[in-house]
């Protein structure tokens, strides 16, 4: 009996190993472990055996049955896995074909992208964002910003007029006054927006964009201006940038400065590695990026004290700084845009490159 069990087991093992598809295994299961198969029948017949043999034969037959069951199971898994692999291999596609359906991707205009970036930098420095009107009164655009009544910027060659005392704002600075009229100090605001001047060539368009900054508090110094703008310069042009403040003149700041950023193209040396003059900063090592200064004390005198802004702006009690930066210029420097007019042509091939 025992020999027969071993013999059957050996046969079955060989047959299972030889099976090449999962369907054959079912036949083998019926043949060796089915109700009419020899091994199960032997098991059922154990009771008829002499008691001395029962345990040995029964034990052996059981072992053999379990071994075959698990062998069948294993073999079934292996064959099914191989069959699935074979099916999947038949599903082959060209993964290098383009995605489909291809998703259209839009872009922010580079000016919007740059303005947002600037807004975000100054939001991080504690400034709030304000917007203001593009059509302004002469009062806000010039008078309250300490332009003398005969200042040349008021001329029709320099400013678009809508009416005798109404202009297209020539800068975002009028919002300095409106912001101070509407809110008491301390005030920390940036004002992005579109401005207008009657110029048109490769480096001037009659409309362009600025981001104004204004901070007024008890004790805001020119050194604070430098720290704020250094943070801006490093955020926009790179961590290793430095800035310098050069004296300049604006009617509504005193002292007034122009701010240069060390050139990121030549690392401020003015020269390229091959010894050629840096084409971006023209060998200067510095790029002029904006005008700024301490708010001229006269400006505060144009801000009436009302319920909205009490206690108001007394130049002996408050002081602050202001700046105005050109968004087109910053984008031009950063991206090497050669002609400002490209910003307003809206050629898709231009728009595609940014945003």
């Amino acid at each position: 009996m025992i020999e027969r069990i071993a013999q059957l087991t050996g046969e079955a093992q060989a047959a299972i190993a030889a099976a090449s598809e999962s369907g054959e295994l079912e036949d083998l299961r019926v043949r060796y472990l089915g109700r009419k198969a020899e091994l199960p029948m032997m098991l059922r017949a154990v009771a008829q055996l002499p008691p001395a043999e029962r345990a040995a034969v029964g034990g052996e037959a059981n072992l053999a049955r379990r071994a075959l069951e698990s062998l069948l199971e294993e073999r079934l898994w292996a064959l099914q896995a191989a069959e699935l692999d074979a099916r999947l291999a038949g599903d082959a596609i060209d993964v290098t074909l383009p995605g489909s359906p291809s998703q259209p991707v839009g872009r922010l205009h580079v000016i919007t992208q740059t303005m947002r970036e600037l807004e975000d930098i100054f939001l991080g420095l504690g400034f709030t964002v304000l917007e203001g009107p593009e059509v302004e009164t002469v009062h806000y655009n010039f008078d309250a910003l300490n332009h003398s009544p005969t200042h040349p910027a008021r001329a029709k060659t320099d400013t678009f007029y809508v009416a005798e005392d109404v202009v297209l704002r020539t800068h975002t600075s009028p919002m300095q006054i409106r912001a101070m009229e509407a809110h008491p100090p301390p005030l920390y605001v940036v004002i992005p927006g579109r401005v207008y001047r009657p110029d048109s060539d490769a480096t001037h368009t009659p409309q362009f964009h600025q981001v104004e900054g204004l901070a007024v508090d008890e004790d805001i110094t020119l050194a604070d201006l430098k720290g704020t703008l250094l943070a801006f310069a490093q955020a926009v042009f790179g961590e290793e940038r430095d800035i310098r403040l050069r004296p300049h003149f604006f009617p509504f700041t005193e002292p007034s400065v122009e701010v240069d950023v060390s050139c990121f193209h030549c690392s401020g040396s003015g020269f390229m590695r091959d010894g050629a003059r840096c084409p971006l900063c023209k060998g200067e090592g510095w790029l002029e990026v904006l005008g700024a200064g301490e708010v001229d004390p006269n400006v505060y005198t144009y801000v009436p004290t009302t319920e909205r802004n009490a206690p108001g702006y007394d130049s002996e009690r408050v002081q602050g700084y202001a700046w105005g930066m050109g968004v087109e210029r910053i984008a031009m420097l950063r991206y090497g845009v050669p002609d400002l007019r490209l910003y307003y042509e809206n050629d898709i091939r231009f728009l595609e490159q940014f945003g």
Partner: protein, 848 residues
């Protein structure tokens, strides 16, 4: 302002090279824009030569062969074409290796077979004058006192020691508040303050003339408000001749062409002092009198250049007995100009009202060195600076006799301010400490009069700075720019209580833009400027507020840019048209920008009341008479997505494609918008493929396909031969209104449990008369659905034989939801019944 360094160093000569000087001037407020080299290069190759002999050239009539002692062992043989070369002369010689002003390098050469080891020079070859009649004869010039050197100069002496043959020239950007730096001496004072190098005395201290009455000419000033000072002096026995080389060289280097000694002296004195002068030929001044008056409106004057100019009453004319001779401060007249035969000169130096000169020079298109100085407003005191310098030179160079006395109408300006400068204030404004001693040193170097008072200073302002410095803040700037700015630490403000955050509406605006970009649209920026021609092309009727209330510019750059846009559509059409003409085929573009209407009625002004900070923009409209509003506009043309290997026919831009974008935008903003058949179709839209867009029942814009006639205007029409139905789709919305609505709806933030009890979805198909709009069916469903109905929308339509003529089937998806339980069919049965009844009332029949 071009300043020859050689000239500047006469007054202030710091131990710095040109780069060092550039750096100091730039960092103290006088920015060096460029550095030029004027004159020759390799100056050691230019020497004084002594002509030993002159012989005729064997093969050329005009050339001579000269033996010239150039200080080397052997005399040099030089071929020369000048008629005036002669033995015994001292001449200027360029030796091989010399670099001429035009950059050409001189080489030893053969001229008609004869070797020439250099060149004997004329003035123009050294770029120090126009003279090319002959070579410069140095000993003759020296004898005339024109060189300031010994007449018998040793051969081989470097020419640079005798003549100003080379200098660096710095080009300065002078800010409008500093007209005193439009003169070499003013720049020298800046350099003195910036470097500490000594400053030579003012060149006008030595005045050969006298004050007091002058006989021989009369001046009257009829408009003292436009002419604060008018001075004049008379020179007799004047010999008009070319200027000496040193003078011609300085003018040339400064960018002025030498003309003759008298004119050159006026230019020289202007470049030195900043104050323009004008020399009249006194014998040609009718009546020997000058009158200064406002021009009449429409008065015409013939100017020096032969043009007739039309003036206005803001301009000033100077006239003699025969009428106007010049437009004051801008351009002289031909009649009384100095000429070769002039012997008596009236030297006029005046101060003019800056804005009047600015106006005249721009209005007449006449910009000059003089007008650009006058328009910035010069100090009356500068008149006498220029008179003194001119008098010195007229006597020295023109052999002139100066008559005693000076005509002086107006005199010096008002006494300049005295200002208290508090040291503590300097520190508190700058954020860096400057000692009171240093403050004093700086201010004195800049010619301020300083008296110490404890820690403070009492400061008197020099007259030339009168217009610029009147307050303590101005003095702080003077101190800061010389010492302080470069030492500033970089600190941050204390920002007490300030925190930076976008307002909800600002965040929503970014989200709106991002939603459109996310749908594959490109953002464009159009021009604010437009014209009535665009209104024509958009078929806007007369009476349309977008035409009638357009804001016009008084001074547009061109007719095409003469108005402010009332719609963003024109700009998008321009962009589309340009891109298509450049080969693009499909376009999905949008713009967010401001539109303008005169005397505003863009509806109620936007609230903007939500922000942490805001300014009352509703008040602006009252101030300017112009209402501004932010709009968003979209234009779709061609395919809505790229062609792919599995999508040969992507959907094309049409009304519903645009509406899909609109819905995506509204959904991103969590605001509901409706498209309703237009109350009055927009003239630029397809009349049966357009709609009004409403939000909370209020119209906020339009959407639709373009009218074929409008599409054709921009060459966008009928692509693919599909006719009117294939025009591009567009929309424009009042973005302020949309964002305000989104903000007001505030559908973000409060949590609702939509998860614990799922919604029950039931679809129905209902056949309706074709005339019933989808929106009507949805409205009926919503009206009847009760509070369990959470959503209803159309997901399919069908028309055909199964529903019959004049009818169509709408497949509606209905969602029912209860906050506290999962609904069963029995729960929603009453609502479903009511909905079917409501649909029945508008002609609906349940199908299947």
């Amino acid at each position: 302002m071009r300043v020859p360094l050689e000239w500047l160093r006469e007054y202030c000569d710091p131990a710095l090279d040109v780069r060092g000087i550039e750096e100091r001037l730039t960092m103290t407020g006088t920015k060096v824009e460029a550095i030029h080299h004027h004159g020759v290069g390799e100056t050691e190759r230019f020497v004084v030569g002594a002509v030993l002999s002159v012989e005729a050239h064997p093969d050329a009539d005009r050339l001579r062969v000269c033996e010239v002692d150039v200080g080397a062992g052997e005399p040099a043989g030089i071929v020369c074409g000048a008629p005036n070369v002669a033995a015994g002369q001292r001449v200027a010689v360029a030796l091989p290796g010399a670099v001429m002003p035009d950059g050409r390098k001189l080489k030893a050469a053969k001229l008609r077979g004869v070797p020439s080891a250099g060149m004997i020079l004329a003035e123009d070859e050294l770029a120090i004058g126009g003279g090319h009649e002959g070579i410069m004869v140095l000993d003759a010039l020296a004898a005339g006192g024109a060189l300031g050197a010994d007449p018998r100069i040793e051969p081989g002496t470097p020419l640079a020691g005798v003549l100003p043959i080379a200098t660096d020239v710095i080009e300065l950007e002078v800010t409008p508040n500093r007209p005193d730096c439009l003169g070499v001496y003013g720049v020298a004072r800046e350099l003195h303050a910036a470097t500490g190098a000594p400053l030579a005395p003012e060149p006008w201290l030595d005045d050969p003339g006298t004050l007091g009455p002058l006989t021989g000419a009369e001046v009257e000033v009829l408009c003292p408000e436009l002419c604060p000072r008018f001075t004049a002096r008379i020179f007799e026995g004047v010999t008009v001749a070319p200027s000496p080389p040193w003078l011609a060289a300085r003018l040339s280097a400064a960018g002025q062409r030498p003309i003759n000694n008298v004119v050159d002296i006026t230019n020289y004195a202007m470049l030195l002092t900043g104050q323009p002068l004008h020399a009249f030929d006194l014998d040609r001044l009718a009546g020997a009198r000058l009158s200064v008056r406002r021009a009449g409106d429409g008065e015409t004057v013939l100017t020096l250049d032969g043009q007739e100019r039309t003036l206005d009453s803001e301009m000033i004319v100077i006239e003699d007995g025969q009428g106007p001779t010049s437009i004051a401060g801008v351009m002289g007249g031909g009649r009384s100009e100095v000429h070769e035969g002039t012997t008596r000169v009236l030297m006029e130096v005046a101060s003019w009202h800056g804005p009047s000169i600015h106006h005249a020079s721009w209005a007449l298109g006449l910009r000059s060195e003089a007008s650009s100085r006058f328009e910035k407003g010069l100090a009356p005191e500068q008149c006498m600076h220029a008179q003194a310098v001119a008098a010195q030179l007229m006597v020295q160079l023109c052999g002139a006799t100066l008559l005693p006395g000076t005509i002086d109408v107006g005199g010096d300006g008002p006494a300049p301010a005295r200002i208290r400068l508090r040291s503590a204030k300097v520190r508190s404004i700058l954020g860096v400490n400057v000692s009171v001693e240093r403050e004093r040193e700086i201010l004195e170097a800049l010619d301020f009069d300083v008296v110490a008072d404890g820690d403070d200073l009492e400061v008197g302002v020099p007259p030339v700075r009168r217009n610029d410095v009147g307050r303590e803040a101005d003095l702080i700037e003077e101190v800061a720019r010389i010492d302080g700015l470069e030492r500033l630490p970089a600190t941050l403000p204390a920002r007490r209580g300030a925190y930076g955050v976008l307002s909800p509406v600002q965040r929503l605006r970014r989200r709106a833009v991002d939603a459109l970009v996310g749908r594959g649209l490109y953002e464009t920026l159009g021009w604010t400027f437009t014209s009535s021609a665009v209104a024509d092309r958009l078929r806007l009727a007369s009476g349309d507020s977008r035409r009638e209330r357009a804001v016009s510019l008084q001074n547009p750059l061109s007719e095409e840019q003469s108005q402010l846009r009332t719609s963003l559509l024109g700009g998008l059409l321009d962009a589309a048209s340009r891109n298509l003409s450049r080969g693009a085929s499909d376009l999905r573009i949008f713009e967010v920008g401001t539109v303008f209407l005169a005397d505003g009625s863009l509806g109620d002004p936007p609230g903007h009341g939500d922000g942490r900070l805001h300014v009352g923009l509703d008040g602006v409209r009252r101030q300017t008479g112009v209402a501004e509003s932010a709009h968003v506009a979209v234009l779709l043309h061609g395919r809505m997505s790229p062609v792919g290997w599995r999508e040969q026919q992507p959907p094309r831009a049409d009304f519903h494609a645009a509406k899909g974008v609109l819905e995506a935008l509204a959904c991103a903003l969590r605001v509901s918008v409706e498209c309703v058949p237009p109350a009055r179709p927009e003239p630029f839209l397809h009349p049966s493929r357009s709609a009004d867009v409403t939000c909370r029942g209020r119209p906020i814009g339009w959407i639709g396909q373009l009218h074929p006639l409008v599409a054709e205007q921009w060459d966008l029409g009928g692509e693919g031969g599909q006719g009117a139905a294939s025009t591009p789709a567009a929309m424009e919305l009042d973005l302020d209104a949309l964002l305000d609505a989104a903000h007001a709806e505030g559908r973000e933030g409060a949590y609702a449990d939509l998860i614990s009890f799922p919604a029950l979805r039931r679809d129905i198909a209902v056949s309706l008369p074709e005339t019933v709009l989808a929106a009507d069916a949805i409205a009926a469903v919503r009206g009847a659905g009760g509070r369990l109905l959470a959503d209803a929308h159309v997901f399919d339509i069908y028309s055909g034989p199964q529903v019959g003529e004049g009818r169509r089937s709408l497949a509606l998806s209905l969602s029912f939801r209860a906050p506290d339980r999962t609904l069963s069919d029995e729960d929603v049965a009453p609502a479903r019944r009511r909905i079917l009844e409501a649909l029945g009332e508008i002609g609906g029949e349940l199908r299947g």
